[in-house]
């Protein structure tokens, strides 16, 4: 039983290498935006979503309107609706209280790595223990490293470009997850639209995160269409 929790914790190590610089950068950004230590910790512990946290802090630093900050943070995290729907069938065997706890740890990485593990039916892992092994490890390191970043301030040389580890983590999860041609279509369509939409968001001052949602929606429609065309 605890083997499965340990397996999740062990599998989180690769993700953590990408998240540690992210958490450090968030801590530094929170400090420069004027947030207190407690506010920074509560953000990491409570929101527990790096992209939304970083954008929220950037908007606070830019003195954006409160409603815009809140809406932006929520819009960026709306993608988790899709994670919730996707992983929900794996949690139907658990009671509502267990599910309420599991939901708290649902991040990009916990979702992607759990789904990949659940697909390996031969390993027959205990689903919630593997998931919690990932989630609790990532949560602890995320919150702790945020504080380290907050305390360290701007001591890390930007020239090393450690932030690049974040898209590398997403690539490492994305590439093995692609199993057929329609999924390739979905990924490519999404990537192209994401770049165009990111440009539009920056150029026209549209809400941050809107580009991600538009791109994902177009990618999904493209994938479904490709699937239906090839099935015909």
């Amino acid at each position: 039983m605890t083997e499965d929790f340990k397996a999740g914790a062990r599998d989180s190590i690769g993700v953590l290498l990408g998240l540690v610089p992210f958490a450090l950068v968030f801590g530094i950004a929170a400090d420069s935006a004027g947030l207190s230590t407690i506010q920074t910790v509560v953000m990491s512990a409570g929101i527990f979503a790096g992209t939304a946290q970083l954008v929220t802090v950037e908007l606070i630093a830019a003195n954006a309107g409160l409603a815009i900050i809140v809406v932006t943070g929520i819009v960026i995290n709306l993608r988790m609706l899709m994670y919730s729907a996707s992983i929900a069938p794996h949690f139907t065997e658990y009671g509502q209280r267990t599910r309420a706890v599991l939901a708290y740890f649902l991040t990009d990485h916990v979702y992607a790595m759990s789904i990949a593990e659940y697909a390996e039916e031969a390993r027959s892992r205990n689903k919630r223990l593997y998931y919690l092994g990932l989630g609790v490890s990532i949560w602890l390191v995320w919150v702790a490293t945020t504080v380290v970043g907050y305390v360290l301030g701007a001591g890390i040389p930007d020239s090393l470009n450690l932030m690049f580890a974040i898209p590398l983590v997403f690539l490492a999860i994305l590439v093995p997850a692609i199993e057929d041609a329609p999924q390739v279509v979905a990924a490519l369509a999404s990537a192209v639209v994401a770049i165009a939409a990111a440009y539009a968001v920056a150029e026209f001052g549209l809400p941050q995160g809107l580009d991600l949602l538009i791109a994902a929606a177009v990618g999904i429609v493209a994938g479904v269409t490709a699937e239906e065309v090839t099935a015909r």
Partner: protein, 115 residues
């Protein structure tokens, strides 16, 4: 420094935290009342990871610009392609990160060392 009242910052943090939790809980909570996922929904869900992850990655490998020719000449894109090849070959997160970072550093700092 920002110009908000302390309570305003707290309100922003707490509202986003609660909303994010409810988003995470949504289908996980509701699913017990639906025994089977409709095939249409399953089909859509199949493409969620690929579409979302690609949307997260792509804008971080280039600087989004209307000038495509200029945009594709980017050390991050080259390093990302190398990393994607490694991910496809090995399927290992740690190795993918290490190779991707080394590729980026080689492209950014290498020419200065050679010439």
């Amino acid at each position: 420094m920002s110009e908000y009242a302390v309570l305003e910052i707290w309100a922003v943090i707490l509202v986003i935290a609660v909303a994010t939790y409810l988003i995470r809980l949504s289908f996980i909570h509701l699913f017990g009342r639906i025994n089977q996922v409709p095939p249409r929904v399953t089909l859509v869900l199949k493409f969620v990871p690929a579409a979302v992850l690609a949307a997260l990655v792509a804008p971080q490998l280039v600087t989004p610009s209307p000038d495509v020719a200029e945009m594709v000449v980017d050390e991050r894109l080259a390093a990302g392609i190398v990393a994607a090849a490694v991910a496809w070959w090995r399927g290992d997160v740690l190795v993918t990160i290490l190779v991707g970072m080394v590729a980026l550093w080689a492209l950014q700092f290498g020419p200065a060392l050679v010439f």
